[in-house]
Symmetry: C2
């Protein structure tokens, strides 16, 4: 059996009772060290106090190219793969899961906190007002992927917020910073000139969101690009039309400038 | 301090280490019994084995009208409010949180698994291919809210999936079933005739998703409306354009008809 266990976003504290149960039942426990990093996460404490056995780190190559070993073990044993956040929000492991099922290996998932829902609680933005989510990828030489710009544009048209996940190569400790992502969006705006990214675009910059040491800061885009967010991982929200309760929340939870509330002060306006 | 603790979706098994820590530190522990129900959840076992004290059930009226008592306690004590899923994905508690902050009461959130991310792992549909999420509400007399139809239409235009949360009144054990939601969508289609809900609309019907006793079934809409999904809570996904790996996942994880895979068999077609 192959069990994907989500670790959440906050050190070892987001681990669930079910997660602990499966880690202890397993004969092999692997840890994905490439899809993200979890703040305050300690593999030593995990091994000693929770799993009570050795945890084997796996890289992207281990999973994507050398998955045969893992699948062979999972045929007759309980094998756990630990994944930051909620497994399968990043799509990386779905191919492994489908291959396992195709070989008659039972699979299951232990869910945990994910950035997708955590952003609502930490910013006060309503979940049903988020449009499609998108990743801002590292430029490839001179080439910049414009999909995030198109997604923001479509969402904005409908007054919706956009959660931008920022690219990372966690194995090599390379993380796109909030200011880099804004710079990419501005470069696309400069080229396309469709008035999607403007001086008064309201953003929420996030670092280590969902952890005890998060920074969540709302402000206009130029201000956000100047903030020092500290250690990774990062994300960025481009804010759509605000409900007045969302505006109040951005001020109280994310230290947004007060005029954000004045702009939506009429409770009827949507 | 007022601590909102997410309970996840799977009995007591989705409770996190952080959740347990705060429940045990608290002088008062409240349980929201109205925003959803968690399958296999036992308040008795929660009290006896986890919280080690009495858990007080709170209704919508307790929270929305008589919150003064809770806020007064939270001024000097640690008060925990247990919430199904990840707190604040349903927006019900944000007003309470903002009122608390306005009175100088510290608030924090312990996150947990939410339907918003769980649907990805349990269906194989990619998170970045979901558009805006929407709730199908109970008809009010003869009047049906058409927002879900508009949201599906907008998402469909962009090839995106739509997660429909189905209305519930958990206090009175009234839950909108999958077939009722489909019936509502069909009635709006009959009136609006914009060809959004068709005979070949692919859906995923979900009951108790994220729990050990979930049902997740993909099929065309007429077939899904005939499925007996058992106990609540329910949700429904209207599927947009499928990536070939999503199609494979729907067949392997949600028992979709095989022709779903044939329709997207070319890996280049998106």
């Amino acid at each position: 059996m192959l069990v994907f266990v989500g670790l959440g976003l906050n050190g070892l504290e987001d681990i669930t009772l079910s997660g602990i149960k499966w880690m202890r039942r397993a004969e092999k426990v692997y840890l994905d060290i490439y899809t993200s990093v979890i703040p305050n996460f300690s593999i030593e404490i995990l091994e000693k106090n929770i799993v009570e056995r050795k945890v084997i780190k796996v890289s992207r190559r281990d999973i994507e190219e050398n998955y045969e070993e893992i699948l062979n073990e999972a045929k007759n044993k309980i094998v756990v793969l630990l994944v930051p956040g909620d497994p399968f929000v990043a799509t990386t492991h779905m191919q492994l899961r489908l291959t396992a099922i195709g070989r008659g290996i039972e699979t299951r998932v232990v869910h945990a906190a994910s950035i997708q829902s955590v952003v609502c609680g930490e910013t006060g933005l309503f979940s049903y007002k988020f449009g499609r989510c998108v990743t801002v990828t590292f430029p490839y030489g001179e080439s910049i992927c414009e999909t995030p710009y198109d997604v923001v544009k479509e969402n904005m048209k409908q007054g919706l917020h956009t959660l931008l996940l920022l690219d990372m190569d966690a194995e090599n400790m390379r993380f796109m910073r909030v200011a880099e992502a804004i710079d990419i969006l501005r470069k696309i705006e400069e080229k396309r000139k469709e008035n999607v990214i403007k001086k008064d675009t309201l953003c929420v910059g996030c670092a280590r969101i969902g952890s005890d040491i998060q920074i969540v800061k709302a402000d206009y885009i130029d201000e956000i690009s100047k903030v020092d967010f500290g250690a990774p991982p990062y994300s960025l929200i481009i804010v759509g039309r605000l409900h007045f309760m969302e505006a109040e929340a951005l001020v109280k939870l994310a230290n947004a400038p007060l005029n954000v509330m004045e702009e939506v002060k009429c409770p009827i306006k949507k």
